[in-house]
């Protein structure tokens, strides 16, 4: 037996937030050999910042959270390649070009790809999603300015759709925004908030169509999109770019024949282990056998990717633990309106029968909050806040302590996180809350 066992080789496919977090935490705790493979870019960049590159707020280099020397210094090997096949039995990967790579443990952190629902014309030139760096380059070709792209149509009213609308808007490109729901993102947001965002979108001169579906995308003689047709009205909207932003799906096509159990995503247990020993899945591509609490089985957000990366690193370094996320939180920005959420506030459609809402909106139509309460116990369930920043740690504490909504409203000032000198609205919220309680 050799004196030194060869170092265990951990291979991570995907250099997004989940894969990179896993690598960093494994490195913190061990000197295992770590290789990160990605087909997308040489270095980790922040996908959430793609919009800012197109809008000219930042350059690509600014979106890299670590300087390029970081990887070498921490002895994390980077490999730019596409993995075509995973062979769990052989412990081997087949890379594009036929090269192989052996691993001892494999972390799948392969992220998502944009949804396409089989619309006629969805693969034409000028039709694209917005997920990868390549998509951004594509967009730069399809919509560099309002001469080349005289109008863009965006299909799908979610977080990426509204970001794409803001992006195109920044270059003076007229945007038609097709949203299937009757109000923007109202599968997630309660109606008061969703309607405020509708108005805000229109204020930015976006041509917002609610309650409509895409029927087909029409081609010109060169195989390039020239118009879309709306299913409900048959209306034809001429355009040079069609943005498909109707959600994302795990990016798992290359695993079809690997024997790894797949559903919508890569099936994992609470330890983020797949059915194959030594293979884990984290981030956007992982699908829990059973949803955790109110969470979805596939959680395609930045934060959960980061959390899963932290967890899997523990497991790989010999401390096998479960993915056990704390209280739900999230955030987004709709043009100029910031949104944060802590705990659970459901939309009108998804709201459980016991969930009561208190809604307050500022007359300037850019700030509002919704607080969810358990009807029977008065327990605070969650808050959505728009245009007012709130403290994560305070709400996390209140949720853990199972505070009542009465308590939360009384102490709302302690949770305010707006910059100094900002006007605060606690008194208005409190009096609105009190008059509402009296009325009921």
């Amino acid at each position: 037996m050799p004196l030194h066992q060869p170092m265990e080789h951990i291979v991570i496919i995907g250099n997004g937030i989940s894969g990179v977090t896993a690598a960093r935490h494994i490195r913190k705790q061990s000197d295992k050999r770590i290789t990160i493979i990605s087909a997308e870019t040489d270095h980790f960049f922040s996908r959430t910042a793609l919009m800012y590159i197109y809008m000219g707020h930042m350059k690509y280099e600014h979106t890299k959270p670590y300087e390029d020397w970081f990887w070498k210094k921490n002895n994390i090997e980077l490999k730019r390649a596409f993995v075509q096949q995973v062979k769990p039995e052989a412990g081997e990967l087949i890379l594009s070009g036929g090269e192989t790579m052996a691993y001892d443990k494999l972390i799948l952190a392969v992220g998502s790809k944009p949804n396409k629902f089989g619309w006629p014309g969805q693969d034409l030139d000028g039709v694209q999603g917005l997920y990868s760096f390549n998509d951004l380059q594509e967009l730069e070709l399809n919509a560099p300015n309002n001469k080349v792209c005289k109008r863009a149509v965006i299909v799908g009213g979610g977080l990426i759709g509204i970001e794409l609308a803001e992006m195109l808007n920044s270059r003076g490109i007229p945007v038609t925004f097709l949203v299937r729901e009757t109000s923007f993102w109202n599968g997630v947001l309660p109606s008061g908030e969703s309607e405020m965002i509708n108005r805000h979108i229109k204020k930015h001169h976006i041509d917002l169509h609610l309650g409509v579906n895409l029927k087909e995308i029409l081609s010109d003689e060169n195989g390039k999109a020239r118009a879309v047709v709306i299913a409900e009205t048959g209306e034809e909207i001429p355009c040079d770019l069609v943005g498909l932003t109707a959600g994302v799906t795990p990016n798992i096509d290359f695993l079809k024949d690997s024997g790894i159990e797949l559903g919508r995503g890569i099936k994992v247990n609470r330890f983020l282990e797949t059915n194959k020993p030594g293979i884990y899945a984290i981030g956007d591509c992982a699908e829990q056998h059973e949803a955790i609490g109110n969470r979805r089985p596939v959680e395609a957000v930045w934060y959960t990717g980061r959390m899963m990366g932290e967890v899997v690193a523990q497991t790989i370094c010999g401390n096998r633990i479960q993915y056990n996320p704390g209280h739900w939180f999230n955030s987004a920005k709709f043009f100029d309106i910031e949104y944060q959420t802590y705990g659970w506030v459901h939309s009108d459609q998804r709201k459980p029968e016991y969930e009561d809402h208190f809604h307050w909106i500022h007359p300037d139509d850019t700030k509002c909050i919704t607080i969810a309460t358990h009807r029977d116990s008065g327990k605070f369930l969650g808050i959505n806040t728009f245009g007012i920043r709130m403290r994560h740690d305070i709400f996390d504490k209140w949720l853990t302590e199972e505070r009542s909504t009465d308590y939360v409203i009384q102490h709302l000032g302690a949770a305010n996180f707006d910059p100094e000198f900002y006007r605060s609205f606690e008194t208005e919220v409190l009096s609105a809350y009190n008059s509402q309680t009296v009325n009921v």
Partner: protein
């Protein structure tokens, strides 16, 4: 990447394009500048006062109208569209033109003022003569190159300040802060010294130019012989001003920095900061965020501080030595006092805070202390008339040339469009260095990170004029407690997820990175934090 870079080179499209109002505004502002250039080329204007007013009104009007074109009628919010596409703010052609012109202007201003028409013996000519009417009105004296510069400087802060307020009108912190710098520049740096010059018409006063808000060691000329003579020969007023100057250093600054961080000065009061925050706002994203730059910063800025301390000690002790017995404070007492005064805080920091200091910070501190003490020792040992190894006046001249003129002016401001707006404040300002040490160690100020909400987008780091990699802390859930932070508040403003808040709070847990909340359940966090 090449594809992106290529299509970005298309000109004249939104968000790069100027609208009609902005084009008119540019023309108007340029007309104002053209009058100044013509004057500098010795075009003789018949009615100087009128032309001066016309020129200044055009410059201010042009800038304000430009802001109106850019921001009026648009929804409130962050206005950074196209920053990196625009030639002037993206280090393109116009940035170099602007940088070279500004640098040229500073070289002429500091070293060839006669080219601007300065004529101390007789009547001014050129552009300085154009400013004579205003100077006569305010102080009763003809203009100097410094009066011309001061006027343009103040005008720039007011005009670009209005633009800044328009741009950040949704942000009350930025609005109030900008009013503050506009006020302090106009009143303290510009008007009050001119009125003080009026006092000098009376025999009883002999006041030097003194911008009361400018604190030593930024105001390194406070302890020049002429300045001390002037203050001490101007009755009670002069004495009070000197006492105020000393109190600003030893009492006011430490207290305010403890309570609010160095931002109370750097981004609320200081004139250099005022220009950087207003005229320099378009260039804040150009600062270097690399770890390497941070290292350079720490060495350079602390070296300047040492230089300033040595130079001032030399000046004052020469001053005291020139006239032994004139003051209760003798040269030797003074020097021993300086030695003791420097050693005490170093010892205290070393003893109480050694854990929170990084290794090279410790080394640097010790090295500097040793150098200063060695110099003091050499002086006492050698007993010649020179202070330390050099003649004090030589030191003073070199400091004025290298630090006062080349660093803070030519490089610090001239290179705004290339290196960003705070090069001087970050790498050069000794005042910022002192307050920075205090801010890191004994201050209530910090930028709080909001739990796990950071998406690592990089807006905060990109728009940090001091080159702090804010994201590096925010994405780990750590508070930002950095010596160089001037508290401009822009990271907090541009953060799309509401992650950052500047605030003053208790010292406990200010830097503590443990127990940060990133979203996972608490047990795991305990493990992750166990390094």
């Amino acid at each position: 990447m090449d594809r992106i870079e290529r299509s970005m080179s298309l000109t004249g499209e939104p968000p790069k394009a100027l609208n009609t109002i902005q084009k008119i505004a540019t023309l108007w502002g340029m007309t104002g500048l053209a009058i100044l250039v013509l004057a500098a080329l010795n075009t003789s204007f018949p009615n100087k006062g009128l032309w001066l007013v016309l020129s200044l009104v055009s410059i201010v009007g042009g800038i304000v109208l430009f802001a109106k074109g850019a921001y009026a009628g648009k929804p409130e919010g962050i206005k950074n569209h196209g920053v990196w596409f625009k030639s002037v703010s993206g280090r393109g052609f116009w940035a170099w033109v602007a940088g070279i012109s500004l640098t040229g202007f500073y070289v002429i201003l500091y070293f060839y003022a006669e080219l601007l028409g300065l004529n101390p013996g007789g009547e001014n000519r050129g552009v300085i003569a154009l400013f004579d009417p205003l100077s006569l009105l305010l102080s009763g004296n003809p203009a100097s190159q410094w009066f011309v510069y001061g006027t343009l400087y103040t005008i720039a802060i007011i005009a670009f300040g209005i633009k800044f307020i328009w741009k950040y009108r949704h942000n009350r912190y930025e609005r109030i802060r900008t009013f503050s710098v506009m006020f302090f520049q106009t009143a303290f740096a510009f008007l009050i010294p001119e009125f003080m010059a009026r006092l000098n018409e009376s025999e009883a006063y002999n006041l030097p130019y003194y911008d009361l808000k400018s604190v030593w060691p930024l105001n390194y000329y406070l302890f020049d012989g002429y300045s001390l003579d002037g203050l001490l020969s101007s009755g009670n007023l002069g004495l009070y001003m000197l006492i105020f100057g000393v109190a600003s250093i030893f009492i006011i600054t430490p207290i305010l920095t403890y309570k609010y961080g160095k931002r109370w000065y750097c981004s609320w009061v200081c004139g250099c900061g005022a220009l950087a925050e207003t005229a320099g706002d378009s260039f804040r994203q150009l600062s270097d965020k690399s770890m390497f730059a941070w290292k350079v910063e720490r060495w350079v800025v602390h070296s300047v501080l040492v230089f300033a301390v040595v130079m001032t000690t030399a000046l004052v002790s020469t001053y005291l030595g020139n006239d032994p017995g004139a003051h209760w404070l003798t040269r030797d007492i003074f020097l021993v006092g300086v030695g003791v005064f420097l050693t005490l805080p170093f010892a205290a920091i070393w003893y109480f805070k050694r854990d929170s200091l990084k290794k090279d910070a410790k080394l640097g501190a010790i090295a500097y202390l040793v150098i200063i003490l060695a110099l003091l020792g050499i002086h006492f040992g050698s007993g010649n008339d020179n202070i330390f190894l050099f003649e004090a006046s030589n030191l003073r001249q070199w400091y004025g040339f290298l630090i006062g003129a080349v660093f803070s002016g030519v490089i610090g401001t001239g290179f705004y469009p290339i290196f960003g707006s705070r090069v001087w404040c970050r790498f050069g300002c000794p005042m910022a260095a002192i307050m920075g040490i205090q801010q890191r160690l004994f201050s209530r100020f910090r930028i709080t990170t909001n739990g796990g909400q950071c998406i690592s987008c990089g807006n905060c780091s990109t728009y940090c004029e001091m080159g702090i990699d804010v994201r590096a802390y925010a994405q780990k859930g750590e508070n930002i407690v950095r010596a160089s932070c001037v508290g401009c508040g822009i990271c907090s403003a541009v953060c799309p997820r509401g992650v950052l808040k500047l605030e003053n709070g208790p010292l406990d847990g200010r830097i503590d990175a443990n127990q940060v909340l990133l979203g996972n359940d608490v047990d795991l966090m305990a493990l992750v934090n166990k390094k």
